[in-house]
Subunit: 412 residues, 2 copies
């Protein structure tokens, strides 16, 4: 397998300092599932009473771990999450389902909980047999190694073609009681989340039932993971989990619309967006992060569809890789999005500098300013498509030779 060792130029300066979140411990080991010389297996342990919400890929060919999570998540309880990198356990028939159950049972036995409270996720190559015996054999070592301060190692253990580990943390309060949300994510290719990114795990000490976590998580994902794309290829394994230990001793909150959750909602949104953007920053081969804002559409969903069409256009992505303010390709993508627009109202700016206005090129284009913006690492593209109220913002990256290097070689 090709190992890409150079870290993305868009990576944050380092992994953030994430203090422990009460009620959670982490352990990683090297199970040798596919990679050698690095941890590839993660166990997250949660205290009894922890609630959980999750969002899973809408793919019609989901991985076996996704099917398991879909079955057990309605219970709303979690004591553990076990995650491996290197093999996605997809398309393995009854053998794949048995492997997931074996993982859940092994962890459940070690933690003295029902298997239905063990969530499972796998990421890596699709279609190969998961050597599950290497995972179950490591469960005792994982349990013995659980540490409250292990989240940075956890983020490393779930990487595949990622070039840096991804973590985020936010502090807020519910009803005056301090609450913390921390999360890790992995993802670099096969990224066009339709529910969540490849894999992301969030933990909080908030005291919230699954019925409250679910709508909050769905809303946060809609504005973050579901607004990003690297290559338009929605994964078979997308899994986003939010576990809440209840160790923060605020008053119980039973309604997601409770005004006491305003701060928590904002913190959750911030952690999700932070992680989602880190995934795009680690987009396979990415040299530039592209923020695409569409305004003036007939509705917000229409704006989002147009924005995602631009974000997935290989011609727009290669133009940005080449530092070319090729707004004609942006217009072509707008035109093929299948949404109503007003051609005479079309406007395009790069970094705030107008390049097209009222459906045509601006006569007084400031080429130097546009070129300087496009030479940078973070590109802001804003497109007005009409006079409607619809607005959306999504994130993508450029398309470079390295994407092809990574994906023509991955697996072989």
């Amino acid at each position: 397998m090709a190992r890409i060792t150079r870290v993305s130029p868009l990576a944050p300066a380092g992994f953030p300092a994430i203090p422990p979140v009460a009620g959670f411990r982490f352990a990683t080991v090297e199970a040798g599932i596919r990679y050698r010389g690095r941890p590839d297996l993660l166990l997250i342990e949660a205290v009894a009473g922890t609630s959980v919400a999750g969002l899973l890929t809408r793919s019609a060919t989901p991985g076996h771990p996704v099917s398991w999570c879909r079955k057990v998540l309605p219970g709303g309880r979690a004591r553990a999450v076990i995650v491996n990198a290197g093999n996605a356990n997809v398309c393995r028939g009854a053998e794949g389902d048995r492997a997931v159950e074996a993982e859940a049972r092994a962890v459940a036995a070690a933690l003295h909980c029902p298997p239905e409270e063990v969530l499972v996720a796998s990421t890596g190559v699709i279609g190969e047999r998961l050597p599950v015996e290497r995972i179950t054999a490591k469960v005792p070592e994982l349990v013995a190694g659980l540490r409250a301060d292990g989240i940075a190692e956890a983020a490393r253990a779930i990487m595949t073609t990622d070039t840096f580990p991804k973590g985020a943390v936010a502090e807020t309060a519910i009803d005056g009681v301090p609450v913390r949300i921390a999360g890790i994510a992995k993802g670099s290719g096969m990224i066009a989340p339709d529910m969540a990114t490849m894999l992301a795990f969030l933990v909080t000490d908030a005291r919230l039932p699954a019925s409250v976590l679910r709508p909050l998580l769905a809303a946060a994902a809609e504005k973050s993971f579901n607004c990003t794309t690297v290559d338009g290829d929605t994964s078979t394994s997308d899994t986003l989990l939010l576990l809440a230990s209840g160790r923060a001793h605020h008053h119980p909150v039973q309604d997601a619309d409770d005004s006491r959750l305003a701060g928590f909602r904002d913190a959750l949104d911030a952690v999700c967006l932070d992680l989602a953007l880190q995934v795009v920053r680690d987009g396979e081969g990415a040299q530039k992060l592209v923020e695409i804002t569409v305004e003036g559409a007939v509705s917000d969903p229409s704006a989002k569809k147009i924005a995602m069409t631009i974000a997935n256009s290989p011609l727009v992505k290669t133009a940005i890789a080449g530092g070319d303010a090729n707004w004609g390709r942006v217009v072509a993508a707008v035109g093929r999005a299948g949404e109503p627009i007003e051609p005479a109202a079309l406007a395009v700016t790069f970094g705030g500098h107008p390049v097209a206005r009222e459906g045509q090129a601006v006569p007084d284009l400031d080429e130097g300013a546009v070129a300087a913006h496009l030479a940078g690492r973070e590109i802001a593209l804003c497109v007005t498509v009409g006079r409607g109220p619809g607005r959306a913002r999504v994130w993508s990256c450029d398309l470079t030779h390295a994407y092809i290097d990574i994906n023509a070689d991955y697996r072989s």
Copy 2:
């Protein structure tokens, strides 16, 4: 502008021998619109009484020539087609419309016909001013140079990033009278035709009214141009025209379903498919032609949507570039296509060699045979997605470094 001089490895051995088609003459000149040292302007002249049908891009941001054709095609009559390469005349407001009208009027004056019988097409960069005065100035020279045997030069004059000229011809008969259909096309990037490829012009000596040409052309395009993709980026300028001079003296046929048109229909389908596949063979950076067959879907349109999702997947395209039988990525694309499938019935073959069956990897994979097939220039991928009657076949190409070289540099 980057000039790609190496010819696609997938190119045919040479331009086909195309005899004249009665009623049509061709001329090309160097107008210096963008390129230097090559013809970039084409005039096709048709005899009085020629009928025409056309299909145009469904883009919501069509070029000005497309808008003109949309306006005049319902008349069903054509005396000429004028085409330039290097500038697509898109997003230029009233100036763009005036430019098209100036072209049509200049040709109409020279050929003594109404401007509404002059069709116009342009291909090249989007959003820049078309130097129309360079075109109108060349009309007398074009008219003076019209030749019945000029179709090969015509195919060259409309190229942009194309690496070879594209032509096709078929002979058939209507009611026992010999009839010929010849065509040329251009296209290499921004190819995911939603009506036709970038530009294609067909001429025939058949004696058929526009009302008969229209359904025949639509049916032929649906099975050819509309089943191809290079990069998923539908163009602003897609234009497919079929002109019929009526010089073949068969009995009039007034109904597209007339059984006497069976041979003509097959010939038209063959010419369209030949040209469409030449466009994919010249896909920007293409090293391999990929034929994707989807079977077992709930319907033909469902099969086509799944096939096009596979065809546009950058992960599938890069895997094929790398010679990797990565059927997991094929499964992931099937999964995200948004169509009903039966995961347990999934099967994948490369070159007829099974790699997955009944939803999982085949245990007895013939790796050598699969690798040998993937090392070739023409890849056949067949995917069974269920037990339904739906079936579709589409064509794509691999995604290589050269696509990025071409598109990060085009324009600058």
